[in-house]
Symmetry: C2
Subunit: 446 residues, 2 copies
C-alpha cells in the first residue's frame, strides 16, 4: 500500500540541498531525544506510542459511540484548543458538507470553544426540542469556556430528560484521578475516559479526546489508528531519506533560517480546512516561544487564490507554502460539455473535474515558486480515515523534531497563562486580589 509522501525539491531555489542536508545530524539527534525521552518537555511525549497504546481501548470507545449515536439526535462535544480541534478537523475532513441540512442523525456540534453569549443562547435554543448527549472534554474541568458550557448544558439536559437519563447521556474525558470534572464524574457515575498526564492537548487527537467524537460522527477510528501506527514506524526511522517527518522538519527550519517566517498550509480540497486549524495549534503552540517560530497560516485553494493569491504571488517575500494534496477524490464528476460554449471551457469537457483542480495545483506551485515562494508538497493517496491517521501522526512527529531543531521545548505553552491571569484579575477571582488591584490601577492610569 502507498503512504503519505513529501516532496521538497521546490525549495531548492531558495535554500540549497546541502544546506537542508546539513541539518541531518540535528534531525537524528532530535529523533533520538523523542524516542529516548531525553529532550526538553520529555514528560509530555506519551503521544509517540499512542497509536499502539490506545489499541486496547478502541472497542470500548466504539461501544460508547454506538450507544450515543443510538440515543441522541445531537451530540455536543464540549472542549477547547486541543480538546476541540483534532476531532473537529477529522470530522470535517470526512463529512459531506451538506449533511448538516439533511435528516441524518446524530448531528455533532461543538461548544465550550468560545465565550460568545449569542452562540450559547442559540445553541441552547437549538437543543430545546432535541434528544442530546454531551461529551465533556477537559483535563482539569476548570477551564472557563468548557466549564461554562458544561454548566449550562448539563442543567438543560437534566431538565429535559431528568437526572437519571442525563447520567447515561454524559461522557467525560478528563484526568484519571484529580480535578473538577473527574470528581463530578465519580459523583454522578458518568462514563469516563482518561487524558493521560504525558499527552498534551495539541497531541491528543489520537487519544479518546479525539477518538470518541470521531467515532460518534460515524467514522472508523480503528483505521485512523492503523494509519497513525503505520506512520509511526516510518517517522521514527533513522532512514532520513525515507522519513517524511524528518524531511519536513529539516526543510521548514532551513527556510526559516533564510527569513521565511510565515508558513502557509495549503489545500485544494475544502474539507481539509480544519486540518489546517489543528495544524496551526500544533506548530504555533509548539514553536512560538522565546521570540522564535514560524507563523502558521492557512489558505483553501482555489478559493483563496482569488483573495490571498495576489499577496502570495507578489507581496512581502517572507512566505513559504506547504501543500496537502489529495491524489484521488472520493466521487466522480466530469467537466460537462456545453453546446453554446459561451464561456469557452469546452476544451475541458470530458476531463474529470479533479484533473482541472490538479492542474490548478501544479500551475499555482510553479507560479508561486517563480514569484519567490518555496513549496513543500505532501501527498495523500485518498482522504479517508487511514490516511488522515498517517497525516496526523506525521505532523505530530515532525513537530517534535522541528521544535528540537529550533531548540525550544515543543511540549509546553507558558505564554497562554498571561491573558487568563489578567482576565481572572479583572473578574475578581478569589485568590487574585493583588492582581485585581494592580490591573485596576493600571487601567485607571491609562
Amino acid at each position: 500500500m502507498k503512504n503519505l509522501t513529501i516532496d521538497i525539491t521546490k525549495i531548492y531555489n531558495f535554500v540549497n540541498q546541502p544546506a537542508v542536508a546539513s541539518l541531518n545530524a540535528e534531525v537524528n539527534n532530535s529523533i533520538d531525544k523523542l524516542l529516548n525521552g531525553t529532550g526538553k518537555g520529555n514528560d509530555f511525549i506519551g503521544w509517540i506510542t499512542l497509536p499502539h497504546d490506545i489499541a486496547f481501548q478502541l472497542d470500548d470507545i466504539n461501544a460508547t459511540a454506538r450507544m450515543l449515536r443510538k440515543e441522541c439526535d445531537v451530540i455536543v462535544c464540549i472542549g477547547i484548543g486541543g480538546s476541540y480541534l483534532g476531532a473537529k478537523a477529522v470530522i470535517e475532513a470526512l463529512s459531506n458538507p451538506f449533511a448538516c441540512y439533511d435528516n441524518s442523525k446524530p448531528k455533532i456540534v461543538f461548544a465550550g470553544q468560545n465565550i460568545s453569549e449569542d452562540y450559547l443562547f442559540e445553541l441552547q435554543e437549538y437543543l430545546k426540542d432535541k434528544k442530546f448527549g454531551i461529551i465533556s472534554i477537559s483535563k482539569s474541568g476548570t477551564t472557563t469556556e468548557p466549564a461554562l458550557a458544561f454548566r449550562l448544558l448539563k442543567t438543560q439536559l437534566e431538565q429535559q430528560v431528568g437526572k437519571q437519563v442525563a447520567r447515561q447521556l454524559i461522557v467525560c474525558i478528563t484526568d484519571k484521578a484529580k480535578g473538577a470534572l473527574r470528581t463530578l464524574a465519580t459523583e454522578e457515575g458518568y462514563k469516563t475516559y482518561v487524558i493521560e498526564d504525558n499527552i498534551g492537548g495539541r497531541f491528543s487527537v489520537l487519544s479518546p479526546v479525539g477518538l470518541l467524537p470521531i467515532a460518534c460522527a460515524g467514522f472508523d477510528i480503528n483505521r485512523l489508528i492503523k494509519g497513525a501506527d503505520d506512520m509511526q514506524k516510518i517517522c521514527t526511522s533513522k532512514d532520513l531519506d525515507n522519513n517524511p517527518a524528518a524531511t519536513y522538519a529539516a526543510a521548514r527550519n532551513a527556510l526559516y533560517s533564510k527569513g521565511k517566517k510565515v508558513e502557509l498550509l495549503v489545500n485544494f480540497e475544502p474539507k481539509l480546512h480544519y486540518i489546517a486549524e489543528w495544524w496551526k495549534q500544533l506548530y504555533g503552540e509548539s514553536e512560538g516561544k522565546e521570540n522564535k517560530g514560524i507563523f502558521p497560516a492557512a489558505v483553501d485553494f482555489t478559493t483563496d487564490l482569488h483573495s490571498m493569491g495576489q499577496y502570495i504571488q507578489e507581496g512581502e517575500r517572507h512566505l513559504f507554502e506547504t501543500v496537502i494534496s489529495v491524489q484521488t477524490p472520493k466521487h466522480h464528476v466530469d467537466f460537462p460539455y456545453n453546446e453554446s460554449n459561451l464561456d469557452g471551457l469546452n476544451f475541458l469537457a470530458g476531463k474529470r473535474v479533479d484533473e482541472v483542480n490538479k492542474m490548478a495545483e501544479l500551475g499555482t506551485m510553479l507560479a508561486h515558486v517563480d514569484g519567490g515562494v518555496p513549496n513543500i508538497h505532501i501527498t495523500l493517496p485518498v482522504l479517508d480515515e487511514y490516511y488522515l491517521g498517517q497525516l496526523l501522526f506525521f505532523f505530530e512527529f515532525a513537530c517534535g523534531i522541528s521544535g528540537y531543531i529550533l531548540d525550544v521545548n515543543p511540549f509546553n505553552q507558558p505564554g497562554v497563562e498571561a491573558y487568563k491571569k489578567n482576565m481572572f484579575a479583572l473578574l475578581n477571582k478569589p485568590g487574585y486580589e493583588k492582581e485585581s488591584e494592580a490591573i485596576r490601577q493600571r487601567i485607571a492610569q491609562n
Copy 2:
C-alpha cells in the same frame, strides 16, 4: 446614534504618537486622490459613492429576493473571490449558526468557489430533491470555478423543473453589455443585475453582488446601505481625528514601517469569522504587490487563544492585532450558579456571559501588548445590518487610503493571472499552444 469607533492608543508603546501623526499629510493626500480620482487605479473607485448610487436599485433587489425566497428551498450563490466573500461574510455575521439544522427556508449555499470534485458531487446530490434557484455572479462569465459550477447546476435545474421554470429561478449578476454570462442571460431571458466597470470584485459587497444574496438570506439590505452611507460621510472627512479610516490607515502603516509585517484581525464573536476572510482579500489583494504589504491573518478568540495564543504572546515579534469588538450581544445568557462549584467558577455566577468575554478581551489586549504585540481596537455597538454596513465601508475606505500611503495601486491585482496562465497551459487551452509547450518542457526537465 453611536458609530463604529477606533482606538489606537495601544500602539503607542511601539510607534509613538508623533510618528503616526506625521502620516497625516499622506493621509490627507490619499483622501484627496480617492475623492478626486487622481490616484493610481482611479478607474476602479466607483465603490466610494456606491452607498448613495445603489439606493435606487434596492427595491428591485428586494423584490427579486422575495421571489427567490418564496420559490426556493435552496438558493445557490455561484461566485468566487469578491463575488463570494462579501455575501458570505455578511450572511454568516447575521445568521444563527444552528439554523442550518432546522427546517427554515430557503437555505443559502455557495458554489463556484472551488474546483473540488467531491464538493460539486455532494452539492449536486443535495440538490436532487430540492427546489432550488441560482444566483450566478461573474463579471466575465468565463472564470473557471463559477463557470463550471454554473454549467453543472443550470443543467441540473433544467432537468429537475424544465427549461421554462428554470429561467425564472436563475438570476445573473454580470457585465452590463459584454461577456459570456451577459450573452447567455440575454438569450435565456434571465433577470440580471450589473457589475459596474468601475467597481472591482473585492469592493463589490455593497453592489448587487453582495446585496442580492444577503437579501435572499432574509436580511435588511436597506439598513446595511444606510450604515455604509453614514460611514461614507465620516470616512471622507478631512477631520482626521474623527475619521476612523484615516486613523486605521495611518496606524497600520506606521506599524508596518517598524517591522510589524503580519496583521491579525481578531474577533471575540465567532459570527465575524468570514468578515475576516473578506477583509483578508480586501487588504491582501490591494496591498500585497511590489514585494510589499502587511500579511493579513485572522483569529477567532477566545477559541484561538487556545491554539495561536502561545505564538502571539511569545513567538516572533512581527505581529500586531486589530480587534473587532461587538459592544452588546443580541441575546442574554447569565453565567449560571452551581451548588457544588467544583469548577470554582461561582464567582462569575450572575454576570452576563458577555462580561466574561469582555474581560477576556481586555485581559488579552493587555497581555499581548505586554508581550510586544501592538493593538488596534475597533468597536461596533451591535452586530446588525446597520453597523456591518459601517464596518464594510470603513474597511474599504481605509484600504484605499492605506494602499496610497504604501504607494501601490490598491485597485489592481496583476499577480493573480500567473497561476491561471500556467493552469490553462497545462490544460491545453486553445490559444495557449506556446505556453503549453514551454511548461511541458519545463516539467520534463525537472
